[in-house]
Amino acid sequence: MNLSGFIHSLRCSLLHIECRLLQAAGLDRHLAPALAVSGHSLLPQLRPQEEQEEQPPGLMDSIMWMAAPKKRRTIEVNRTRRRAVEKLIKIKTNIEPCLECGHLKQKHVLCGFCYAKVRRETTLIRQQIQVMEGGPLKAPAVETIVLYEGETPSQQDKDKRIVEKPSKRPAWFS
């Protein structure tokens, strides 16, 4: 495939550049002779070169002290680690049916179905309020009361803002 060939050539060229850099720094050792001459004259030459070249740390030094795995972990070892009892998913014991609608819910959480039902109604009320206010930051400083068709405001509601909705009052909205 063209893509893999291109990537391969890119990789090769990068490795080539790295090789050349190492050779230039004098730290490349794979072409050195097996029998090395212990010459004091060699060492002082190498030292200043090493200090001059700003090698990125971790290229040659990191071979010495970084931790690395000694052997490949077998699939049996991997499986026993991955499938240990504490890593399996635990079964929840706090699921119960909702009393209102019969769908399942968690004990400490609201029923999803009932919540969605209430949300739908409240979005409609909010849209109506938006139409009434006509813009942002125009909420009055009084309470709001929602009245459905056929309802009149009672004695307690006289100071409140009234939102009229022409539909029937839902059974769950007390």
């Binding site: 990068l14 499938r83 399996l88 998913i89 079964i91 929840k92 699921i95 399942l104």
Partner: protein
């Protein structure tokens, strides 16, 4: 996906659906749909009388065909990213789920003593 499959092995179908509904993994939603479809198929085509009388006998996941993509790293390096796909198989059987029999401590003690008594040197007189 394997963890979910392992979780629902041996549960009755109602319990399995309940557990999957409240699990946060992506595979839980897919597995719940699969289970409900299997339940429906069992009732319609396989002559099952009560849809709650089923339990999960076998449930396993397998590796599907992966798509390979390139993930770009820094300094011109790249990695090969796998777009992972998997298969999921489930077998529902009619009846109550089989319960693992609990061994009492007396039975366990008896078994231990019997194992000690069975020790012998092989190929001896």
């Amino acid at each position: 996906m394997w963890y979910l499959a392992k979780m629902i092995r041996g549960l009755s179908i109602d319990e399995a659906v309940a557990q999957l509904e409240f699990n946060d993994k992506k595979g839980a939603k897919i597995m719940k749909e699969v289970l409900l479809e299997a339940q429906e198929m069992a009732v319609k085509h396989h002559n099952v009388e009560f849809k709650s009388n089923l339990y999960v006998a076998e449930s396993c996941s397998g590796k599907g065909r992966y798509l390979k993509r390139i993930r770009y790293h820094g300094r011109g390096m790249y990695g090969i990213m796998d777009k992972v796909y998997c298969h999921y198989f489930v077998k529902l059987v009619e009846g109550a789920p089989p319960r693992a029999e609990e061994k009492t401590s007396l039975d366990a003690a008896k078994d231990y003593v019997q194992n000690l008594r069975n020790r012998t040197i092989i190929h001896s007189l």
